[in-house]
């Protein structure tokens, strides 16, 4: 989903930077507030940032014969709500723009908007909706992670279609073309990312129960001193 350096016309580059900036500033405040008020969150915040860092570095093959990378922004969005990811996602993008020539400074705004703003919010929406519909924590995490990934790439496709409309078919024609490149390839990756999220949450529900309860991801169980066996089953019964 990285729009390459210089591939957005200046007006678009400036526009997306202005659009993304308030989210990133708000996200930075959210991170500082979280760390200051709940220092015990620092570990999980680190985990959320690290997760995006790993996943966005790995290019994976897909059934379409092309490869792409996951985004990993759904985890932090589910744990800490989306604003936090606006900062963490942008840090990852900046790292890749400066050191890897992947993405770019002129396209940082547009890339941050898709990966660090739209992705996390869409993922959080999917997570909340799934939980409200009775999908449970793990179902919600799967939906949240997968949708955050897909929404990011769909946004990139639309951003590119807007900047480079097709000579004949215009914006819609270009959107179909760019979505063809991004969205289809991304489906298996989104599923894989959802499954990784479920794996990670299975570990967290056992080992980081107090944090998850405080963050409102899990509701506190009445029998906190229950033996380990029933604790392990908690993600199933604790909705």
């Amino acid at each position: 989903m990285h729009i390459a350096e210089g591939f957005l016309p200046p007006a678009h580059a400036v526009g997306w930077t202005i659009a993304a900036a308030p989210f990133v500033v708000h996200g930075a405040r959210a991170v500082v507030k979280e760390v200051r008020e709940n220092p015990e969150s620092t570990l999980l915040l680190g985990a959320a940032g690290a997760f995006t860092f790993v996943l966005s570095a790995i290019k994976l093959p897909s059934v379409t014969g092309s490869s792409s990378h996951p985004t990993g922004t759904g985890l932090g969005a589910v744990l800490f709500r989306p604003p936090v990811m606006a900062l963490l996602g942008t840090v990852v993008l900046l790292f890749q723009a400066l050191l890897l020539a992947h993405g770019g400074l002129t396209t940082l705004g547009a890339n941050a908007f898709s990966m660090a703003v739209v992705g996390p919010w869409a993922g959080y929406g999917a997570y909340s909706l799934t939980r409200r519909l009775g999908g449970g924590l793990l179902g919600g995490v799967f939906a949240g992670m997968a949708v955050a990934d897909l929404a990011t790439y769909a946004t990139t496709a639309l951003q590119l279609a807007w900047a480079h409309p097709d000579a004949e078919s215009g914006f819609l024609g270009a959107a179909v073309k760019f979505l063809g490149v991004f969205a289809v390839t991304q489906v298996p990756l989104a599923i894989g990312e959802g499954l990784l999220g479920v794996l990670l949450f299975r570990v967290l529900t056992v080992n980081a129960r107090p944090e998850l309860e405080r963050l409102g991801v899990l509701t506190p169980s009445p029998d906190d001193d229950a033996p380990a066996v029933s604790r392990d089953k908690a993600p199933e019964g604790d909705r």
């Binding site: 390459a4 690290a50 860092f53 490869s67 890749q96 479920v198 380990a228």
Partner: protein
């Protein structure tokens, strides 16, 4: 507990299969990145467009680039492992303290 391990194993297997399958089905493909495909698509549909800014720093070779990507993954993986290890260690310590309280003199 055993069912839990089975679930974990199946999940890991599913993730591996999901990404191994494309390689088995179509081994001949060169798996170009979607990011560069999009760039090609722009050059094709908007031939008059020339990028007006280039990267401040580009890794000199593909080897250096993949090395830097590996570095990024290693940093993320390292931090993630550290956090999960600490959380797990904390829980074992709590458990040990609990049993000591309950069974101790």
């Amino acid at each position: 507990m055993r069912r839990r391990h089975l679930g974990t194993a199946l999940l890991v297997l599913a993730v591996v299969a999901l990404f191994a399958l494309p390689l088995l089905i179509d081994g001949g493909s060169d798996y170009t990145g979607t990011d560069s495909q999009a760039t090609e698509l722009i050059a094709e549909s908007d031939p008059g467009y020339t990028p007006w800014f280039s990267s401040v720093f580009s890794p000199g070779s593909a080897e250096v680039e993949s090395g830097l990507f590996a570095l990024q993954a290693a940093l993320g993986g390292g931090v993630l492992g550290y956090v999960l290890g600490r959380l797990r260690g904390r829980r074992s310590a709590e458990k040990a303290a609990d049993t000591e309280e309950a069974g101790g003199p």
